[in-house]
Amino acid sequence: MELFLHQVLAGLATGGIYACLALAVVMIYQAIDNFNFAQGEMAMFSTFIAWQLLQWGMPFWAAALAAGVVAFAGGVAIERIVFKPIRTASPLSHVVAFIALFAILNSTAGFIWDFNVKTFPSPFGSRPLLGSGLISTHDAGMIVVTVALLAFLYGFFRYTRIGLAMRAAAAHPASAQLVGIRVGWMMALGWGMAAAIGAVAGMMIAPVVFLEPNMMLGILLYGFAGAVVGGLSSPGGAVAGGFAVGVIENLAGTFVPFVGRELKLTIALVLIVGVLMIRPSGLFGRTVVSRV
């Protein structure tokens, strides 16, 4: 029982990271109808920036905040420079741009910081929380940070004027323009926020998976799984999906004998394929019917 509880809590901790990435993916998906394959690399790059600032002697939270701000600005810049010019292009052009972005960020990070694995400090330490042995302070910190972030985002989209404008712009761009919303800037803002959310996820998971240019590959796959499980049309669903994927992954890795560590990543793919077969719009998604 204790092992079970331990694994559920650890699963929630990593699940929070998947939830953040899933949410970032869904935010961009709702704006441009496409998966941002480079979401993980953007997070990785931001984490490297935080690491560099730490190396230069900045205190942790200052470095984290600075990395978040840089990530936000970078996200806005990517939308303005890369995706604004191809907004009306075919989905395939977007996919190619995502892959290019992926490769550029990945190799630039490798070029600047090399491919050796680095440690990234946890601001919470890694002792057992309250000596209970159930969960480490870092895992607990991860849960708190992601839940706080998600609560903030919920409040932002639900109750603020600009959050409402962003939701309207993503769902009905033409109507949004007719009420005076600057749709282009709302999209850029969405990219900036998605990038900043990714940065938080990257910095939280880096102490666990260690820092290197390919660190987010598996994590993003879980994030995609979370997004698909919850439903790409539902930010709340994506978050729930992320947490669920984290827990399922951990439990399966522990209790299903043949899964172990090696087959853990396969679970994400099984989940994606399984959900797409049974409920293509995800567990919480709306079915979109479009007239052709």
Partner: protein
């Protein structure tokens, strides 16, 4: 003059849809655009809002609109109720109305305007926390007009407000439009298939034929001119 249009041409890609039209709208006046399908009525509204490639001169309160982005034109005080109503289907009725006032900052006045819209359309008040996509066609049309009013526009562009509504509801809707025009003094440009109602409401009418204005006259005159009615309006 609230709006002055000279030699307006509009294009869908390579295809020219308006061939140089001239017209004007008075402050607080109601004007209707008549014509058969494909004559260029919707195109004219879209051209005014910067949703198409255009040439020619459009002036709103003396300021040129050409080359401005749609959202900037809206911010000058032109509210467009588009074909299909442009409802934000998955947001609530109240959120839809709040979006109408999204460019405004005067919170107290926005709250007052919201009450005013609810007073005009009590049905919207009853359903204020319902998803807008679940409303009936008539309710969505009311919501679209309410949303447009939330901008406190100087000019209201209405594209087929009667579309898809039951005849009784259409009568009621036009009565409401008349009252809104009288109470708020907002000018209106209405594209409408229901010629009788449109001519009743509007003081002035333009008749479009394949992208050109062929008749420019007070509504009264068109109503009385049997030849025009027979040959162009079909009644």
């Amino acid at each position: 003059m609230l709006l002055e249009v000279q030699n307006l041409r509009a294009f869908y890609g390579q295809t020219q849809a308006l061939h140089g039209i001239d017209f004007g709208l008075d402050v607080g006046g109601v004007t209707t655009l008549l014509g058969a399908n494909g004559a260029g009525k919707t195109t004219t509204l879209r051209a005014l809002c910067g949703m198409l490639r255009t040439s020619g001169d459009i002036r709103f309160e003396g300021r040129p609109l050409n080359g401005r982005a749609t959202e900037d034109i809206v911010r000058l005080g032109i509210a467009h109720v588009p074909e299909g109503r442009g409802t934000f289907t998955h947001l609530t009725v109240e959120e839809n109305l709040r979006l109408g006032a999204i460019t405004r900052r005067d919170h107290a006045a926005i709250a007052a305007d919201m009450e005013r819209v609810y007073a005009i359309f009590p049905r919207l008040h009853e359903r204020n926390d319902q998803q807008a996509g679940t409303l009936s066609g008539g309710e969505q049309q009311m919501l679209a007009i309410g949303r447009a009013l939330m901008l406190r526009p100087k000019l209201l562009l209405l594209d087929e407000p009667s579309f898809g509504l039951a005849p009784l509801l259409v009568q009621e809707l036009f009565e409401i439009l008349r009252r809104i025009n009288r109470d708020t003094g907002v000018a209106m440009l209405i594209v409408e298939q229901n010629v009788t109602l449109a001519l009743d409401l509007a003081q002035h009418a333009y008749l479009l034929e394949t992208g050109r204005i062929v008749i420019d006259a007070p509504s009264q005159k068109i109503r009385e001119d049997e030849t025009v009615r027979r040959s162009y309006l079909g009644y």
